[in-house]
């Protein structure tokens, strides 16, 4: 049995159903009678679209653009510098693999690791806590990244009790805030949004209702299997055509109206939203998740005096000047519009953050062969 058959059994990857949905989508876009531009705000959606070659199944008049959907990509340089400074000062910094090569002002965590700094890749916050328990004589800092989904895991670990030598440097971001910023960009032509199903599992879908009303753009909560994406796009274009700025939940097997109450309780017990700079985008009001003051003891920013002056001050980087990451994250450019894409900028030598993370638009396009039009090839 092939991989496709396996998933086909689950019916989320069934080619016949996919074809039927793609045909319905083409009819819906044709009924609008002009090109339609929609945005998703999630690296996992882009992965599904790229991995399964869905763009070759989209109607030509439907443009599905990736917005700021990669938490690693939007982690700002000063945040990386804080982690680099902590590692340089002797702390053991644990973080997710993608964070290692994220460029700081002059160095990445990977550079610090290469120089002998104590930087460790972990797969979960729990693993970082275990490392802290195993090394009571060391300061262990978990450099936390991710949207509210992973922030809940961080919160749960803290609430579960952590050793005295463990702290968190939060680079957690809050998705709904970013959608607001992108919707307000001056030259945006986005008419509808796909919301990330996993984040909505936590927040619930109702949270998008004020956004849809305020922007006049419908929002559809979507899952991550190819059929989820196709069905959600079909619903989104239908709402656009009918001019209904509503929220539809096409991921009801995971997402409810009010979200995961216990998870949300944990999240807000530990974190609060604050304004934050997102790399390449802007200052995002309420875009960052910061540890609440009562958790000062586990907040690396309050626990240590972090001096980033010693690790900052980048030499001017000619390649970085030509990098389009910012515009790509604002959905104003595609990865293939960048002259560095796949040439000077590749996963092993990333220039911009979008090529660093497996959730970044450039990295995804590079991994899955870009987006050439392959509809008629070999026919």
């Amino acid at each position: 049995m092939g991989a496709a058959d396996q998933a086909g059994e689950l019916k989320f990857r069934d080619p016949a159903r996919a074809r039927a949905l793609a045909e319905a989508l083409a009819r819906e876009v044709a009924a609008v009678g002009r090109p339609v531009e929609v945005m998703h705000v999630c690296g996992t959606h882009e992965q599904a679209i790229a991995r399964f070659g869905l763009r070759a199944a989209f109607p030509r008049d439907l443009h599905v653009i990736m917005g700021p959907g990669c938490p690693v990509c939007v982690t700002d340089t000063p945040e990386v510098d804080e982690a680099v400074a902590l590692a340089a000062a002797g702390a053991r910094v644990c973080t997710y693999g993608d964070m290692l090569r994220l460029p700081g002002a002059s160095r990445s965590l990977g550079d610090v690791q290469g120089e002998g700094g104590k930087v460790e890749v972990v797969y979960s916050v729990t693993q970082a806590v275990e490392i802290a328990r195993a090394r009571p004589a060391e300061e262990v800092v978990f450099f936390a990244s991710g949207f509210e989904t992973t922030a809940v895991a961080t919160a749960a670990a803290i609430l579960g009790g952590v050793p005295a030598n463990f702290s968190v440097l939060s680079a957690h971001k809050y998705v709904p805030a970013a959608m607001e910023v992108v919707a307000r960009l001056e030259d945006t032509k986005i008419e509808g949004y796909l919301a990330a199903g996993h984040a909505a599992t936590i927040t619930g879908w109702e949270i998008f209702v004020p956004f849809a009303r305020a922007t006049g753009s419908p929002v559809v909560v979507a899952g991550f299997e190819p059929l989820d994406v196709l069905a959600a796009l079909l619903e989104l274009v239908r709402l656009v055509r009918e001019g209904r700025p509503e929220v539809a939940n096409l991921y009801p097997r995971c997402v409810t109206r009010e979200g995961n109450r216990p998870a949300l309780e944990k999240l807000w017990k530990v974190f609060r939203v604050v304004d934050g700079d997102w790399r390449g985008i802007a200052r995002v009001p309420s875009g960052n998740l910061e540890l609440r003051p009562e958790w000062a003891a586990v907040d690396a920013r309050r626990r240590f005096r972090i001096d980033t002056a010693l690790v900052g001050g980048a030499a001017k980087n000619e390649l970085a000047d030509r990098c389009l990451c910012g515009l790509i994250m604002q959905a104003r450019k595609d990865p293939s519009d960048c002259e560095l894409f796949g040439k000077e900028c590749r996963p092993e030598v990333p220039v911009g953050a979008c090529m660093v993370s497996s959730e970044g638009a450039c990295r995804i396009w590079h991994t899955y062969g870009g987006a050439p039009d392959l509809r008629g090839v070999g026919a």
């Binding site: 049995m1 991989a3 996919a18 070659g53 869905l54 763009r55 070759a56 062969g369 392959l374 090839v377």
Partner: protein
């Protein structure tokens, strides 16, 4: 003049990706080692071809020579061990060149001080069993011991040689040719990976490591000259082989994703880890390019052999997009990018 710090390639250090079978390794070999092969053999296949082995003219036959080192971690894994791997890898490289009756193998063992003698005996037994399956013996060898910490356990090198009347290359595809795989893909890499402690994944995954000369003999007997390209999809997986086929023959390759056989356990582990089975190593599979008129014969011959029961036709060579591999996922299409390197180090 005071020499400045090293810049460019000279300052570069070797990374794990340089041994991972992908683009990085190919670039390293091309830039660093290819000069060793100049001038190449007057008649035959030398280093410059970067094929599975060399082919040197001996009378009216070809002498096929190949060598392979093995450093897999852990040395014992579900479905096999470094011993079975070292015999199979070399027998398979010979087979991919068309030599299915190896004359003999060599074996060099480098062991770390403190390595259990019982483990070494177990590895030897496993080598003996694989040799018996392939109908080959080890004809000469070498043993070295390195100090504690100077080597991680054990490294094994084998070389193989044999004669063949027809050399099968990996550049023989032309538009219209069909491409077969001899069974499920991704099993070896994922079986080894999931044995690594830090991932803590359990399951019934098993490496496919096996000597393929018998299976290839059956395919060649059925297809004859219509078998125009062969390669074993080790590091870099099926994707890497298809890229080599496409680039060397200057054709496009259209891969029909749903036709590619994948074991259920392997597919599940790959999905969890976010790794594409198409880019993961195999140690008991061959990818075979066949003229269209012979595809049914070859497929039937493969399926009639115990190691080829799940053989399938998975792709077609096309004239468009030379050098590219296009994956039809059943839901859409995209280019199948060649991986920079195997996603997991030290799997063989």
């Amino acid at each position: 003049m005071i020499p400045g710090p090293l810049a460019g390639p000279a300052a570069e250090r070797i990374g794990l990706k340089h041994g991972a079978g992908g683009r990085a390794m190919r670039r390293l070999v091309e830039e660093l080692f290819l000069p060793l092969g100049e001038p190449g053999p007057v008649d035959g296949v030398g280093l410059a071809a970067m094929d599975d082995g060399a082919a040197l003219r001996v009378g009216d036959q070809w002498l096929i020579v190949t060598t392979d080192s093995h450093v897999v971690q852990p040395p014992f894994f579900p479905g096999g061990d470094i011993g079975r791997l070292s015999i199979s890898g070399t027998v398979n490289d010979l087979a991919m060149m068309g030599c299915t009756e190896p004359l003999g193998l060599t074996c060099a063992v480098i062991v770390e001080e403190g390595f259990p003698r019982a483990d070494l005996a177990r590895i030897r037994d496993s080598m003996a069993a694989a040799c018996a399956e392939a109908g080959v013996t080890v004809v000469t060898g070498d043993t070295k011991v390195m100090g504690k910490g100077e080597l991680d356990g054990i490294a094994l090198n084998t070389a193989g040689f044999g004669l063949t009347r027809r050399v099968v290359r990996d550049d023989g595809l032309r538009p219209g040719d069909r491409i077969l795989v001899t069974g499920t893909v991704g099993d070896h890499g994922l079986a080894v990976l999931t044995r690594r402690r830090d991932l803590r994944i359990e399951g019934a995954l098993s490496s496919d490591v096996a000597p393929l000369n018998g299976l290839v003999r059956a395919a060649l007997a059925a297809g004859g000259d219509a078998v125009v390209a062969m390669k074993d999809p080790t590091r870099g997986g099926l994707a890497s082989v298809l890229h080599e086929f496409a680039e060397k023959a200057k054709v496009g390759v259209l891969l029909d994703g749903p036709s590619v056989p994948v074991n259920a356990e392997t597919a599940a582990a790959a999905e969890i880890l976010g790794i594409d089975p198409l880019v993961v190593a195999n140690e008991g599979k061959a990818v075979i390019g066949v003229r269209p008129e012979a595809v049914d014969r070859v497929l039937a011959a493969l399926r009639g052999h115990p190691l080829g029961r799940r053989a399938a036709v998975v792709g077609t060579a096309i004239a468009e997009r030379p050098g590219d591999v296009i994956l039809d996922t059943g839901l859409g299409r995209r280019l199948l990018a060649e991986v920079e390197g195997e996603p997991l180090p030290r799997i063989c």
